[in-house]
């Protein structure tokens, strides 16, 4: 594990391990509790494999009642809990802790109800993202948010991370596509937020839960919107001599009132790596490549394709190919979707960063990355959700060279600082987890962070759920309660009153 410090393991919890295992076995029978070291190895890391940690014990409940009893037990006995879906988090959000129960929701894998007239599906949290689409596509429906890991990631994890994907620009993030949740609080209480109807009543707890990275509650049921599949989809593959021209093309498309179903950009190193890997037919003499997908009724797509083509040429496109068949469209995407493994072939290791910037700052940020690349002596390849400004710089390094991981991490942190500096944010879709925890003060001051921690206190006042994630330091809830205003101390004569 690199230099990251996790909270010190609690000796009292460690010494009670056998009691805890026994108590959990009484709640979840059979193979639902895993405590043998070898068997727990498979859980020691999520998709951010640079960090590994064996959990105290793994529990795989099968019913809501079991989840409730496990959490209630942990709450009453001050035992920490790390919730996990499929463990595909790229920011270490599902990294186990030495002194915490790893609560794995993979046995909640049933689709409970599909309601076509109301266009919703009610599913358990362990169902994969793609599993929802697979269950409804024979009726012409799909679930829109499509993170790259959609074949493996669970919908419960999507809620925890507010996951997105290529479709997000047009169809929104997880937060915009979830209508209801059933969740269990750390006290074991089961609450329902929203449902098949739109708008949950009262405070937007659904909005707070989505993207809360497993720190507020454990999701046991999710109600999602399903959408009618667009009648058709076609894509354009457009190459530009400079990234500035590609960026301007993106801005002009949006300014033209067009919101594509997907709009992705790759830089030269990413184009070359992807082309060498999948032979998608990408042009190799360009600095930036855009893949723009338009979906909807056939006449609309035809209409928009011609508009986008004109905008592309107006911005100096050197190549513009329009897909004429489904095979060709898929080929355009094959390279983009294989960009990560493709880069894996040209470098022993890489670190995938995830920051969002205002789109117009792209040239500045790319130039800044080139400078940083020279400073650190490490290469970087870029794939980019161009429509919504979400960058994925891939920092290439070799873990066998001493200090290279450390250099790559510093490089990545500098990129994220640059994103914040130009008006962007630290993470667009992968979450803060443990990876970006120490960078939170780049974006938020202490008051900002304390108010977020106060939300945590409302849900989990003992900080037992997924501690050590998201926030750089933990205050106890009581310490946050201090107030410094006393009667008469500040006169406020300057406030206009009447």
């Amino acid at each position: 594990m690199s230099g990251l410090l996790m909270p010190k393991a609690d000796d009292s919890t460690m010494s009670r391990r056998s009691d805890i295992v026994t108590a959990l076995r009484a709640i979840v029978p059979g193979e639902g509790v895993v405590d043998a070291t070898n068997a727990m190895r498979v859980f020691e890391s999520d998709a951010l494999t640079a960090y590994r940690q064996l959990p105290l014990v793994v529990v795989l409940p099968q019913t809501v009642a079991q989840v409730s009893r496990v959490l209630k037990y942990c709450h009453e006995n001050n035992v920490k809990v790390v919730p996990r879906g499929s463990g595909t988090s790229l920011s270490g959000g599902a990294l186990p802790l030495e002194d915490a129960v790893l609560l794995v929701m993979s046995r909640f894998n049933q689709i409970l109800e599909i309601d076509y007239p109301n266009r919703v599906a009610v599913v358990q949290p362990g169902v994969t993202n793609l599993g929802i689409t697979n269950a409804v596509e024979h009726e012409g429906f799909y679930y829109a948010p499509d993170p790259s890991s959609q074949i493996a990631c669970s919908i419960g994890g999507n809620v925890a991370e507010n996951s997105g994907g290529v479709h997000c620009l047009k169809y929104g993030l997880t937060a915009n596509n979830v209508l209801g949740l059933e969740m269990v609080l750390i006290t074991g209480e089961v609450v329902r937020l929203g449902g098949k109807h739109l708008d949950s009543e009262g405070y937007d707890l659904l909005g707070l839960m989505t993207g809360s990275e497993g720190l507020l509650g454990v999701v046991t049921e999710v109600t999602v919107r399903i959408l009618q599949k667009p009648a058709t989809a076609r894509a354009l593959m457009v190459g530009f001599p400079t990234s500035e021209q590609a960026g301007k093309c993106v801005a002009d498309i949006i300014a033209g009132g067009i919101i594509p179903g997907g709009m992705e950009m790759m830089d030269r190193p990413a184009i070359h790596a992807a082309e060498d890997f999948v032979h998608a037919g990408y042009p190799l003499d360009v600095e930036a490549l855009l893949i723009i997908e338009l979906d909807g009724p056939v006449v609309e797509v035809d209409h928009l394709i011609s508009m986008v083509e004109a905008i592309a040429y107006k911005n100096g496109a050197s190549t513009c190919v329009i897909s004429q068949s489904e095979e060709e469209r898929m080929a355009f995407w094959a390279g983009r979707k294989a960009a990560f493994p493709a880069v894996g072939r040209i470098s022993p290791d890489y670190l995938c960063m995830d920051g969002t910037i205002p789109r117009k700052e792209l040239p500045k940020v790319l130039a800044g990355m080139r400078e940083l690349s020279e400073k650190y002596g490490l290469r970087v390849a870029n794939v980019f959700h161009a429509g919504d400004g979400n960058l994925h710089p891939l920092i290439l390094y070799d873990a066998n060279i001493p200090e290279e991981l450390h250099k790559a991490e510093d490089f990545g942190a500098d990129i994220l600082r640059l994103c914040v500096k130009v008006g962007g944010v630290l993470t667009g879709e992968h979450g803060v987890g443990v990876e970006k925890r120490e960078l939170m003060p780049e974006m938020f001051n202490e008051i900002d962070l304390n108010q977020q921690i106060r939300v945590k206190c409302a849900f989990d006042d003992k900080h037992l759920l997924n501690p050590g994630k998201v926030f750089p330091q933990l205050h106890r809830c009581a310490e946050l309660g201090r107030m410094h205003v006393h009667r008469g101390q500040v006169p406020f004569p300057e406030i206009p009153r009447f």
Binding site: P117, N118, N162, A175, L185, V190, G195, K196, H197, L198, D199, E201, G202, Y203, D204, L205, G207, L208, T210, G211, Q228, P230, A231, A251, A255, I258, I259, G296, P297, V299, T356, I357, P358, K360, G389, V425, T427, G428, G431, M440, M443, I447, Q451, Q452, R454, V455, C457, A458, V470, G481, V485, H486, R487, Q489, V490, F492, E494, I495, P496, R497
Partner: protein
């Protein structure tokens, strides 16, 4: 009795700190256009945000707009329209329904009450478009959340947390929203003469098709004549709105007419008439009658909505129409609000919630205006309120008695 009208963010912080130091609860308002909605307040003092106004960032190419909370929504909509853009969630204007002038709402009020219109299902509500906020909490502390980019999962989404909080958690001072291109054109298909249950089925067919219906509504016969100057009187109207680029709208209209050919006679409206029609549905114009007759906003499973109305009609005089794409039924009771009857039936028909949007002050003080929550959820909401506003000085009791 003091009214603060802060002109700077510092003055907002100071006003809240004054309230804290005096232990004096305050009402937070913009222009007060939604003051008659929710539980009536008993506060002596007011923080009026109406003079804290102005656009702080508008970047059409980036699809973002930031403005101070007191900025008029109508002004912002005009600005967006000049650039071919819009709040795609179509914030409704409660003014006329609540006996106030139209166009008085502020940006802060829009977020605090999570406004939306008949594109709700397709385009979401205010909470689906908010990107970032600056907020003065009930602790008198200024904090920010979110940002100005459309894809952001950095920390908890306190911006959404402010949505529908009715000013009880904090005072949003500056808000950033995602804006989107306004549709190039629109057409409304109108199926005439359907009963409520037939309309529900027709709308489900249309909305489950690839017709990309942006809004759907059903106006029963007695409501149909109360929009767009009575053009639709004489029969129930089931409305389907299509938006987008002209070739696409025409193509989808033809397809849907074919799909619904057996449902009944179909006529269409386009352009400004169509826009006016949906604006009137958005603002509940059929129930704008200058009275305080109880009006309910019911959010429930769309396919069950007509059953609620039919059941209610067995026992009470009730007028209703369906903003189906909003997942809403609007009810006007001729007599008492019938709170228990309405809420029991919602539970019976798949769940949801009812908000008593219009009623006399005494009725709103006596009945739960918002749907009562189950005990664990109510306790959680109360804990959340305490974390933002431990002294209970911001809009106390506005949503729930004692909170």
């Amino acid at each position: 009795m003091t009214t603060f009208t802060p002109k700077t963010e510092d003055e907002i912080v100071e006003a809240v700190q004054w309230a804290l130091s005096e232990n004096a609860p305050v009402e937070v308002v913009g222009h007060g256009s939604k003051r008659n909605l929710g539980r009536p307040l008993q506060t002596e003092h007011t923080i009026a945000m109406s003079e804290y106004s102005g656009v702080t960032l508008y970047d059409p190419d980036e699809l973002v707009l930031s403005a101070k909370a007191g900025t008029s929504v109508a002004e912002l909509e005009t600005l967006l329209a000049e650039n071919g853009q819009a709040f795609q969630f179509e914030p409704m204007d409660y003014g006329p329904l609540l006996g106030q002038a139209a166009g008085q709402g502020t940006f802060g009020g829009l977020l605090a009450t999570n406004l939306c219109g008949p594109r709700r299902l397709k385009s979401g509500s205010a909470r689906d478009h908010v990107l970032g906020v600056r907020v003065v909490s009930g602790r008198g502390e200024l904090f920010k959340s979110g940002g100005r980019v459309v894809k952001n999962v950095t920390g908890y989404d306190l911006s959404k947390g402010m949505a529908n909080s009715w000013g009880t958690l904090g005072i949003a001072t500056e808000i950033t929203f995602k804006v989107l291109p306004a549709p190039e054109t629109e057409t409304t298909l109108i199926v005439r003469g359907l009963a409520d249950d037939e309309a529900a089925r027709a709308m489900a067919i249309a909305m489950g098709s690839s017709g990309e219906v942006a809004s759907a509504a059903h106006l029963p016969v007695n409501v149909s004549g109360r929009v767009i100057d009575g053009v639709l009187k004489g029969g129930a109207s089931t409305l389907l709105r299509l938006e987008g680029f002209a070739p696409s709208v025409n193509d989808r209209a033809t397809m849907l007419k074919g799909l619904l050919a057996s449902a009944g006679t179909i006529v269409d409206l386009s352009g400004d008439t169509s826009r006016k029609l949906w604006q009137e549905i958005r603002d509940v114009i059929p129930f704008v009658d200058g009275t305080e007759q109880p009006v309910w906003r019911v959010s429930m499973v769309p396919m069950e909505a007509y059953k609620l109305v039919a059941s209610l009609r067995m026992g009470a005089a009730v007028d209703a129409f369906y903003d189906w794409q909003g997942g809403l039924v609007w009810l006007r009771m001729e007599g008492e609000p019938e709170a228990e009857a309405v809420r029991a039936l919602i539970r019976k028909y798949g769940g949801g919630h009812a908000t008593l949007v219009r009623a006399s002050t005494s009725v709103r003080a006596a009945l739960p205006v918002f749907e009562p929550q189950p005990a664990p959820l109510a306790a959680l909401s109360k804990r959340l309120k305490q974390q933002f506003d431990p002294s209970g000085i911001l809009n106390p009791g506005r949503m729930v008695a004692g909170v």
